[in-house]
Symmetry: C3
């Protein structure tokens, strides 16, 4: 059984970080899938997904990480193509990647207690983001 849903989020860019764990969990509950997996995928080339302990300190630390590894004000050849000033956004997104797959067991994702799913928008302007949430699996507990 496959169910596909979309989460929409208004983002501010510049490594804007959103905790989407609860929304993904609600989609799983709604789907009725208890054993399987969820693939989360952000549409677009200037955003990414990962997990983190979602608390204000680490939100700052992740922003600092991407600024350190891929500084906003370095020169990017992307500028020669579009002149839109977001070369850093694209490179950060390619490094982090847009996908995340989490197993579902007994109707719940196998995340740790302090492990949340986050969307990071790396673009240099506000965006309306679509995150595809696709669940595949079995509607009942097949282990019983």
């Amino acid at each position: 059984m496959i169910q596909t849903e979309v989460i929409e989020r208004s983002t501010k860019g510049y490594s804007d970080i959103h905790n989407i764990t609860d929304e993904v969990a609600k989609k799983i509950t709604k789907s009725g899938i208890t054993q399987g997996q969820v693939t989360v995928f952000v549409v677009g080339s200037t955003a990414g997904l990962t997990t983190v302990e979602y608390e204000p300190g680490l939100v700052k630390d992740l922003k600092n990480l991407f600024e350190k590894l891929i500084p906003q004000n370095d020169y990017y050849h992307h500028e020669e193509t579009w002149h839109d000033g977001n070369g850093f956004s694209h490179v950060r997104a390619s490094l982090l990647k847009p996908d995340l797959t989490v197993p579902i067991v007994n109707g719940r994702m196998t995340l740790g207690t302090w492990q949340q799913i986050i969307l990071i928008d790396f673009d240099n302007c506000p965006r309306q983001r679509e995150v595809v949430v696709q669940m595949a699996g079995e509607p009942r507990d097949s282990s019983k």
Copy 2:
């Protein structure tokens, strides 16, 4: 339903970047799967996969990123094992990872308009690469 295909590519190494989006899309069309997912996986320990807006500027920017984070001419302990000069290739590949999973909806991947799937070959010599393309899902539109 599961269908597995392989894409072969001759690569030049040194962060050689190939846009494989159209080939993956053709495998999906051929499979007849309209709702599900595709897992793309590059075989080998010196290459990786991600998405990017595929244009010449960002191709250069990604090459520069990996040279900055993991320079070719740094010392790598891998050299002590094989003396083959590609320690940087392995470390870059481990950071980027070899897998990418994309949802399929109505027979198409949920990529953004400017979001392409790329293979990056980090090795220090030409290679013949195999990229496994595995589609899992339903052959008709189950939402109807």
Copy 3:
């Protein structure tokens, strides 16, 4: 068909690297799934998964990579929340991500000969880790 198993590992932290390939392969054999995929997922926010040629040189090189990109002794705002000294562990884990998906063909993962699955524990103390191994697919060779 979906089968979910757990691999447990005692880890030492500080980028402790464990080769879990054989254990994952045994779970696949036990499941009887010959065509499909395995999703490997480490529970918790201070560990990650990737692939590498597992040999002592690259194990050192990967440890060095994470110390270079995300130094243990930098200041992390995470410290303001918990005062537990492992901000570097969380940031490293978010960059590497906790998931890996590998296709299964004829009962075997499509890994290269020199490509192993590794768990990296980034925490600053010993941990008992759970790695979820979820296999989805068909119990017989559907290509015959």
